[in-house]
């Protein structure tokens, strides 16, 4: 029987025409906060890893010459520069606070379901608060 492969499963051709609905909003709303924080830790980790070469480049530019240093300072004060800085800082804060939460879980804290959910909310709220503070302080 002819078939197509979808999500690693062999599905008969006759069922191919069935539409697959992916309602991301609904999927997120049904996920516990701990799952969202877990995925967020991965996504922010990937994002921060991609930003690492930029960090090294900025480090090099800042040290290379007085002109490079000044260029970097004025870039960090421009509107696009501030937006990039705030997004990076928010990602960093989210990764840091959810990471501290995972270290706590390794040590046996916040393991029960209630505390796991509470600590996930606290990590997310702290990261958001730091991002807002950082945006205002820039």
């Amino acid at each position: 029987m002819p078939f197509v492969v979808r999500s690693g499963c062999k599905i008969p051709m006759s069922r191919k025409a069935r539409p697959v609905f992916l309602n991301l909003g609904l999927l997120l709303a049904r996920m516990p906060v701990t799952a969202i924080v877990s995925i967020g830790h991965r996504l922010t980790g990937i994002f921060l890893a991609l930003a690492t070469p930029l960090l090294v480049y900025a480090f090099e530019t800042s040290l290379s010459s007085s002109a490079g240093f000044d260029r970097l300072i004025s870039l960090s004060q421009s509107v696009p520069g501030r937006i990039v800085a705030v997004v990076l800082f928010w990602s960093l804060a989210q990764h840091l606070f959810s990471g501290i939460r995972y270290l706590g879980i390794d040590l046996g804290f916040w393991v029960s379901r209630t505390q796991a959910r509470m600590s996930a909310w606290v990590a997310t709220a702290l990261a958001a608060a730091f991002a807002v503070f950082g945006a205002l302080a820039l």
């Binding site: 990937i46 890893a49 040290l63």
Partner: protein, 111 residues
């Protein structure tokens, strides 16, 4: 099961580097926030101090090791095709080593 195959070493490396990267990042953000009036000369002489240079090198070493364990896990979880997985893992390793050497060159050029 051998100690290498257990994944315990990667687990420990990820946690230890996390602690150093977190501590350094908090210190660096605070230092940069407080010393925002710094000019280029002061910045270079700060980074040139042996303790600061070593702390920065250790930071990037920890960061790249942490990134290796984290992205290696992501690739192993989501890329099922063995050849593509090997290619991506090799590219990742090459990129991270290149970043590390780049930082080393930057620091050494100040000395």
């Amino acid at each position: 099961m051998s100690r290498r195959a257990s994944g315990l070493r990667a687990w420990v490396v990820q946690r230890l580097t996390a602690v150093y990267v977190a501590a350094f990042t908090v210190a660096a953000v605070l230092a940069l926030a407080l010393g925002s009036g710094l000019d280029h000369g002061e910045w270079v002489s700060l980074v040139r101090q042996p303790a600061v240079s070593i702390a920065i090198l250790l930071f990037f070493l920890s960061l790249l090791l942490h990134t290796w364990v984290g992205l290696r896990d992501v690739l192993i979880d989501y890329v099922r095709e063995p050849t593509l997985r090997i290619i991506l893992l090799s590219l990742l390793a090459g990129g991270l080593v290149a970043c590390g050497l780049w930082v080393l060159v930057i620091i050494l050029s100040l000395w």
